[in-house]
Subunit: 401 residues, 2 copies
């Protein structure tokens, strides 16, 4: 075999994708309770399902025809209106690029901005894909720690401490994976001031933007000075419960969107037309707002509240915060793990083996995640959330007593 490039060796295989593959192979055994991958368990809105099935039957050739690289104009028009309505920002439909899900959005935003040697700041812990994508482009990762003590909120002082002359971008995820944190208005304002002062990009990952249970996330590019230095990543996976259709979109300054579009032509050519038609319907007739208000948020809020209550009841030595948004509890298990003589990864592996419960080791999200586990509350229904937490408690206490 001729040599491979060095690129694969720059990055690690995603441990969460490994778990996803394992679960797929196991065909989701009924006995396995998954607090693992953040996969919405709700079906998409019935209007969207019906429309898509009808389109495929009635106009099959059109529904599976090529789209332009930027995406179907009708959808980009609806998204411009949606951004204005929910976040008060004005984007021309031509400043919106439809992508194959949030992952491609992150990838393209880094491809368009990061030069080898540039530094990109991320939080620790945070979504595990950022560091690997940054490394693929030869970038260097700088970390800003957050911890359960201050509700996983980053501090502006900590950010300023890692800024350097080669800082190229800051990636902000709010609501956050794995902590459920929504950043404060003050933090965003301070971050934008620093981005202006030190001339770096803010890559605002808003894939969980509609998944919040109280206040909404601040919107970075609603601040005028942020507009020309912010690329925002959106996904339909969470808000429309369609992760397997692979669709999202990015916004930013025209020049940056043009650069991402150009690169996308050779990365994936065009987004799925079928998925775009589904999302046109999602944004019509008030379907999206009704679905979020009546189905998604009440369902997930109930599960979140239940899991919070169960953690407090059954795992009293664990420390966590009630997530304001997204899909996860990030739980500091160090008091248990120390008593058990296990690290978080060993704990997760054994918990699956012994009790058929999937949790994600906190170390996968950064060095500050060591001793934690991430548990999603959206994938399982309430009775299985109860059963899962009880199993974890039983497993833990088998060591403790």
């Amino acid at each position: 075999m001729p040599a491979l490039s060095s690129r694969p060796s720059l990055i690690r295989r995603s441990p969460i994708r490994r778990i996803a593959a394992l679960l797929e192979e196991a065909k989701r055994k009924e006995t396995i309770i998954s607090f693992g991958g953040g996969a919405p368990s709700l079906p998409p809105p019935p209007e969207v399902v019906d429309y898509l099935a009808e389109m495929i039957k009635k106009e099959p050739a059109r529904t599976v025809a090529y789209s332009s690289t930027k995406g179907v104009p009708e959808l980009r028009q609806l998204l411009a209106e949606d951004l204005k309505k929910h976040w008060g920002v004005d984007y021309d439909p031509d400043d919106i690029l439809i992508v194959n899900g949030g992952t491609e959005g992150i990838y393209l935003s880094l491809a368009a901005t990061v030069e080898p040697g540039d530094e990109v700041i991320i939080l620790d812990p945070t979504y595990l894909g950022y560091s690997e994508a940054i490394k693929l482009f030869g970038g260097k990762v700088r970390y800003v720690p957050v911890s359960v003590e201050n509700g996983y909120q980053p501090s502006l002082e900590d950010v300023e401490r890692v800024i350097s002359p080669i800082t190229k971008a800051f990636i902000l995820l709010s609501p956050d994976n794995p902590t459920g944190r929504i950043v404060t208005e003050e933090f965003v304002k301070g971050l934008v001031d620093m981005a202006v002062k030190y001339d770096f990009w803010i890559i605002f990952d808003a894939v969980y933007k509609h998944i919040s249970f109280g206040r909404k996330t601040p919107w970075v590019d609603a601040i005028p000075e942020a507009r020309e230095r912010t690329i925002t990543i959106n996904s339909f996976s969470k808000e429309a419960s369609i992760p397997g259709l692979r669709l999202g979109y990015v916004t930013g300054p025209r020049e940056a969107v043009d650069a991402m579009e150009k690169i996308k032509q050779y990365v994936s050519l065009a987004p799925s037309t079928t998925a775009q038609y589904a999302m046109i319907k999602f944004h019509e007739d008030g379907i999206k707002d009704r679905y979020l208000r009546d189905v998604v948020i009440p369902t997930y809020k109930k599960r979140r509240d239940l899991m919070y209550q169960l953690i407090q009841e059954y795992l009293p030595e664990a420390r966590t915060v009630l997530p304001e948004g997204a899909f996860y509890f990030f739980v500091d298990m160090r008091r248990y793990l120390e008593a058990m003589g296990r690290n978080d990864e060993e704990f997760a592996n054994r918990l699956l083996y012994r009790k058929s419960v999937v949790v994600i080791p906190g170390r996968y999200f950064g060095s500050k995640g060591v001793g934690h586990v991430r548990m999603t509350f959206v994938t399982e229904p309430e009775e299985r959330i109860r059963e899962g937490i009880k199993r974890i408690a039983a497993y833990v206490s088998s060591y403790m007593f």
Copy 2:
């Protein structure tokens, strides 16, 4: 705005994608006859359409759930059987990676093999995406010319002439875009010998593999020595007429497939689950073979034969070869263009403006394509093919006489 990376400036915007976007904006005016983008005009098999509509209605959550990065095991199993049946090659389902269409396959295969400074050999003319993807990874493009005189067949001598110590890969597309050429067994054997001797990869782009009107394309990795140095790119866009579902797959040595999967985790996370279910059905119950035999090949062959006859009748000074496969005629228009005092790009622009016929300038496919145009015969039905060629002839003769 902070600086963008240099990546966007390494590549050119795809002129064909620009035309695709223009046509989308124009909502396909009835008056425009498109011999432009190679978009299948046939609907997918009705069994696939019905199955997909039914799956979406009956099991919406499952149909739009996340897939693993590598793809649904059931589909990979069917593809392993299909490769064996049609091309005589044995692949383990784990050596098959499902991707978001052939474009992502090309992108990942280059990401996994090409180091900055490496040389990659392609033909001239050939598919216009290769050179740009190579440049995105810092690779250098070397060209091997082909011409209408020898039926667009490359010669082994010409290949050996451009091989150097830093040759990393050769990209072979057969059946070819834009020329319709299927390479010879001799050429493939000689190429494999050189790949062994000089230790380089063969990236075999087989996206048109089932679109041939006589003999089948030779299959590179059916040659035992080729197996450990060939990555093969497959797409369902052409053979199942589903370009807008964005799905394909790659095969190769295990280590290369693993490398591509790892990179894909951060490029696009996973392929569309919905599209994968559709393609599971496509490979069941003999649907694929029937569809190709009874619908795709007869329809396209008739259109090809008609366009060939019309070119000879109405454009007698043009030179081309009857394409053995793929979707296109590559037509040497130099005798007309010289008389008209126009180059191929000016010709295409004016033809669209004056006669509402879309053709693709040959220069987009390489320097040897100057003076040619590419015309697809699959997008328009027969009466519109006739009308389109007549319009071209009328446009040409308005200059000639």
